[in-house]
């Protein structure tokens, strides 16, 4: 698979579940799942902010930390090229597409910025994006195509499971 997992897919990683089995199988095959660094940020942020009110999230955080440290999956960094592409994307699409969303405007804005970083990371790394949020990433892909018409398009695909 040549697609980069976004947060909607990577957030399904759990000690009990078929997603972890899939990730471990892929690592064993020598084709580790690729996860965008900003998705790692979102996952860890989600767990960390819950630790104060629910200690179980501390356990989950420790598990995820060990998983990452054990190279069970490959983290694709937001490098200089990706940062340049992300800045151009954000300049054209500063706000997320309007839709029904129970999150605060600030949180939606923060998530949107991370989605931009994930799309740019995939684009700059020569990968596609695998996501459950295909609408927003299709918008980002269309904008990349408009910004860089000579570049191979960013495909937005569903997850493997």
């Amino acid at each position: 698979m040549t697609a980069l997992w976004d947060t909607t897919l990577a957030s399904r990683l759990h000690p009990r579940g078929e997603v972890l089995d899939y990730v471990i199988d892929q690592a064993g095959e020598g084709t580790p799942v690729r996860v965008a660094a900003p998705a790692v940020l979102e996952i860890v942020y989600g767990y960390q902010r819950m630790v104060g009110e629910d200690a179980r999230y501390g356990e989950l955080l420790a598990w995820f930390t060990r998983l990452l440290a054990g190279d069970a999956f490959s983290v694709v960094d937001l490098d200089g090229r990706a940062a340049l592409v992300a800045g151009r994307l954000r300049g054209v699409l500063p706000h997320p597409p309007a839709k029904r969303d129970r999150r605060s405007k600030t949180m939606r804005q923060a998530s949107w910025l991370l989605d931009i970083q994930i799309a740019a990371t995939a684009f700059a790394a020569g990968l596609d994006v695998a996501t459950e949020n295909r609408g927003d990433f299709a918008t980002l892909g269309d904008t990349l195509a408009a910004l860089f018409p000579d570049a191979p398009a960013l495909a937005v695909v569903a997850g493997p499971l």
Partner: protein, 106 residues
């Protein structure tokens, strides 16, 4: 089970080759052969096929990465002759964006 009892690989097309097998690869091939109950040669072919598939995938990703980057940095820019914002305007455009202001109107 003896080695001779291993199922033979299906007859395959392609040119024959002779090569010297490094010890490390021989160990892995022997292990895979035992695991799948196939001949060492067949195990070597499977390892090579998997390696070739990975190599092709990596090459394809690297090519697309380069092609996309070439599209991002296309064209030559001559800042000496071009009409560009002053250093103050340029810095303001960057820092004003932090305050969510619309810098195009400022």
């Amino acid at each position: 089970m003896t080695r001779s009892a291993s199922p033979r690989a299906p007859r395959s097309e392609g040119s024959r080759t002779t090569l010297r097998l490094p010890d490390t690869l021989a160990v892995v091939a022997e292990r895979l052969a035992r695991e799948l109950d196939i001949s060492r040669n067949d195990a070597l072919l499977r390892l090579a096929a998997r390696g070739a598939r990975l190599y092709e995938q990596e090459q394809s990703i690297a090519a697309r990465r380069a092609e996309r980057w070439a599209a991002v940095v296309s064209g030559v820019v001559h800042t000496e002759q071009g009409d560009i914002p002053s250093p103050e305007e340029a810095r303001h455009a960057i820092l004003a964006a932090r305050d969510q202001t619309d810098v195009r109107r400022s």
